[in-house]
Amino acid sequence: MLAVRLGIVCIFKPVRWFLHISTRHLRLHPWRHLFLCALFFAPMWLLDAKRGELAPLASAMKWVCAGGLFLLFLLVSVRELTHRRRRIATSPGWGVLHIISWVYSAKTVSQVFRPTINDMQFEHIQALAEGNPLKARWVLLRGYSSVWSAAVAQAPLSLMKRLYELWKAAS
């Protein structure tokens, strides 16, 4: 019974997950499906042509190709999964905003960092709506650099305020 459960957990579920993600991915991008098929079948066809003289090598190469294909599928699936999750779950800048919220006061975050990130998101959405992904990336790069320069510019004042609060609390 334990072996069956282990089999389900270790083999069946990962395989099902892998197939689900792979097929979803391939359905969305047919040209990648074709490319992967070509990648898989071209060496097969070439090796089958030489099967007479290189039978053991052909067999080994088949396993290498199959393993390579499996790894490729796996990498694409993981990338697709993480990429999608990040895209759906958060808009750009919210991760940075969460990190900054730990360091700076709520007032500073709402006065300084949230408008900066909102501007970045606004420009990012505009660039995407224009159908310009390169500009969208540039906007993100520029936006993140401005967030960090704002963090550096705000740091001395916030640090002084925090030290004063600590001193006041201690006394």
Binding site: P115, T116, F122, S149, A150, V152
Partner: protein, 97 residues
């Protein structure tokens, strides 16, 4: 003399822009300043100016898509400080004092 408010060049520029345009977004201020205001520091300055009471902000929902953004307005106190600062600058420029 000790209580006379002092304005930095960036603060003066922001107050002048707000006095001219009534209310502006941060990005619009950057565009109107022609590169004098930087993305990384404009909101730090605006935050300090809000603390001093020179400007106020309110959140405006995006019309089509995008997040709510802050629009900044000059306060009465900010307008008076700007007026006094410009007058003092003009007096110094004429060499009266």
């Amino acid at each position: 003399m000790k209580d006379l408010p002092r304005l930095s060049s960036i603060e003066t520029l922001i107050l002048e822009l707000l006095a001219e345009h009534r209310e502006l977004y941060g990005l619009e201020m950057m565009e109107a300043s022609r590169g004098k205001l930087k993305r990384g520091t404009i909101y730090v300055t605006l935050g300090r100016m809000q603390d001093k009471g020179y400007v106020t902000s309110r959140e405006v929902e995006a019309e089509g898509r995008g997040p709510a953004r802050c629009v900044y307005t000059l306060t009465g106190h900010g307008g008076r400080v700007l007026g006094a600062w410009q007058m003092a600058g003009a007096v110094f420029a004429r060499g009266v004092l």
